[in-house]
């Protein structure tokens, strides 16, 4: 039986032991892209397939995926999702968050079970306090490269030695940055570094391709978990509960497999 907490400590222990790994997350947004549904997240609307609701997303979170126009990027996301390698961990959307049908769809689409499947939510919800208390301090043991939005302020995190910036809808607009990063890794013989990604769907493509290119570094998709240290908004419900003390159950939520 998979354990939400045990999987978190599995990654934490690898990090502490300086054993390189990659943690890639496929959340609901990536799930819809994998399902080849049109996706628009912006200030005016949230559109998933044919379903449209009111927009809530600020500029740095804007995302637009058109199945016809962006099929190349969807194919790269499929590559990242189906990629299998030692210590390449894939976080899936769990049945308690996206429902049984979507959860099963991911497994079927992947084709075969991967022992490195884990939760996309592994660093949030019931594990978020542990992430801040126990995993964040380990970043200081590494030369850390941060990949994030151009608006993020990184000076609070003392371990960051290099950053790469992306804009909105980075999966499409900044795809070329992956090649730039590969070249930087090669030219500078970057080994034993930690790469943290907070760049939405761009992170998924980059983590896959960079780990495939050089598996001697560690690559983690930290999503919005470090927003409080980046001058970014803490408007996700788990962030509001943790940093603002807002009422909510997210911090006690133990996701099931």
């Amino acid at each position: 039986m998979k354990s939400f907490e045990a999987d978190f400590y599995r990654l934490c222990n690898l990090l502490a032991a300086r054993e390189p790994f990659a943690f890639n997350r496929f959340s609901d947004g990536e799930l819809y892209i994998l399902q080849d549904k049109e996706l628009i997240l912006d200030v005016q609307q949230v559109k998933v397939g044919d379903k449209v609701t009111e927009g809530i997303y600020k500029e740095e979170d804007h995302k637009r995926f058109n199945p016809q126009e962006h099929s190349f990027f969807r194919d790269r996301l499929v590559d990242a999702f189906r990629y299998t390698k030692k210590n390449y961990f894939k976080g899936l959307s769990c049945r308690c968050c996206v429902g049984e049908e979507n959860f099963q769809w991911q497994l079927d689409f992947h084709g075969g079970y991967d022992e490195n499947f884990t939760w996309a939510n592994l660093l949030v919800n019931g594990n978020y306090g542990k992430f801040i208390r126990e995993m964040y301090p380990l970043f200081s043991e590494y030369k850390t490269v941060f990949v994030c939005n151009e608006k993020a302020e990184l000076s609070v995190m003392p371990f960051i030695t290099k950053d790469f910036r992306v804009g909105y809808n980075a999966m499409v607009n900044d795809y070329g940055l992956i090649q730039t990063m590969k070249e930087w890794i090669d030219e500078n013989n970057v080994r034993g570094h930690l790469f943290l990604f907070s760049a939405s769907s761009f992170s998924k493509l980059a983590i896959h391709q960079l780990y495939d290119h050089c598996d001697l570094n560690t690559y983690i998709d930290v999503g919005t978990t470090l927003n409080a240290f980046m001058g970014m908004r803490v408007d996700r419900t788990y962030l509001k509960s943790y940093w603002l003390g807002a009422k909510g159950k997210d911090l006690h939520k133990i996701c099931i497999w």
Partner: protein, 294 residues
């Protein structure tokens, strides 16, 4: 067997002190295990999860941060600790009732020691002193707060730290858990008033709401000059990274001042400098050995 049992094994000062106590005892031939509810301690010393703890005949049990009401509670400490962590608005009433309950008795099967490391509240009214054979205080000032049964004063063991080979200039460290009672914000402001260029905050995120309300706005007020590292286990690395350490609250018995002296780091805080030579680890061990009659 010596069994150290604590209600928290998150990386805070008391856990670090208990890990060191466990390691020092084992290094000197006293079989010792540290039990706690979290996982941080598990690879730091001879350690086990709290639910593996069983009191056995002949044991010396050293308790920390556990307000024991009766000896029978030792048989189910996970439940006791979990219950204590839940908010309870009737806690003070419960304490008063417990204080008036019939006197408890010591165990004849094992020795029970209460250690007040990192926990001044252990000398509160609610503590059932008759259950304990000894009380361990880390500083004489704790003794004055309440007259407890037989107690002994002994500082925490000092970790192996060396003088920093090279120090940065005007980089301050604020060491301790991030919470209002530690007045981290005041320590940061004090460092900047003294002309420090940068402040690195090293400590467990105990109160994120305090951080976001108080420290995060300071990071904007002093752009690029405040950094948060979390609790970094490698203390040598911590002291090597700073020229000065700032503390805004009195913490008698805290090892930080001694560690600053050992690493050639300037200390700024309300506690007066300890006069004379600090006790060596050998001397500290001799105190424990005598008091535990080992």
């Amino acid at each position: 067997m010596i069994k150290i049992v604590t209600a928290t094994t998150l990386p805070v000062g008391s856990t670090v002190a208990l890990v060191e106590l466990c390691n020092q005892f084992n290094a000197r031939g006293l079989a010792t295990t540290l039990y706690g509810p979290d996982v941080w301690h598990l690879d730091k010393c001879a350690a086990a999860a709290i639910d593996e703890f069983r009191p056995e005949k002949g044991d010396v049990i050293i308790l920390n941060r556990i307000n024991l009401v009766s000896l029978s509670e030792l048989d189910n400490l996970p439940a006791k600790i979990a219950a204590a962590q839940k908010p309870n608005r009737f806690a003070s009433l419960k304490d008063a009732l417990l204080a008036s309950a019939p006197l408890a008795r010591k165990s004849e099967a094992f020795k029970l020691v209460l250690t007040c490391v990192g926990d001044d509240s252990c000398l509160s009214q609610a503590t059932r002193f008759p259950l304990f054979d000894k009380i361990h205080l880390v500083h004489a000032v704790q003794r004055g707060r309440r007259s407890a049964p037989p107690s002994f004063t002994c500082p925490s063991f000092l970790r192996d730290l060396e003088r920093s080979a090279r120090k940065p200039e005007k980089v301050a460290g604020v060491l301790g858990s991030i919470c209002a009672s530690n007045r981290v914000d005041a320590a940061i402001e004090s460092a900047f008033r003294d002309g420090m260029a940068t402040v690195i905050v090293y400590g467990l995120m105990s109160d994120p709401v305090y951080y976001y309300r108080t420290i995060e706005p300071l990071t904007k007020g002093y752009p690029g000059r405040i950094k948060y590292a979390g609790f970094v286990t490698n203390r040598q690395k911590v002291y090597d990274s700073v020229s000065d350490v700032y503390c805004a609250v009195s913490k008698p018995g805290s090892p930080v001042q001694r560690e600053c002296a050992a690493t050639n780091t300037r200390f700024h805080g309300p506690d007066p400098a300890d006069g004379g030579h600090p006790l060596s680890n050998d001397q500290i061990f001799e105190i424990w050995k005598k008091e535990l009659e080992l």
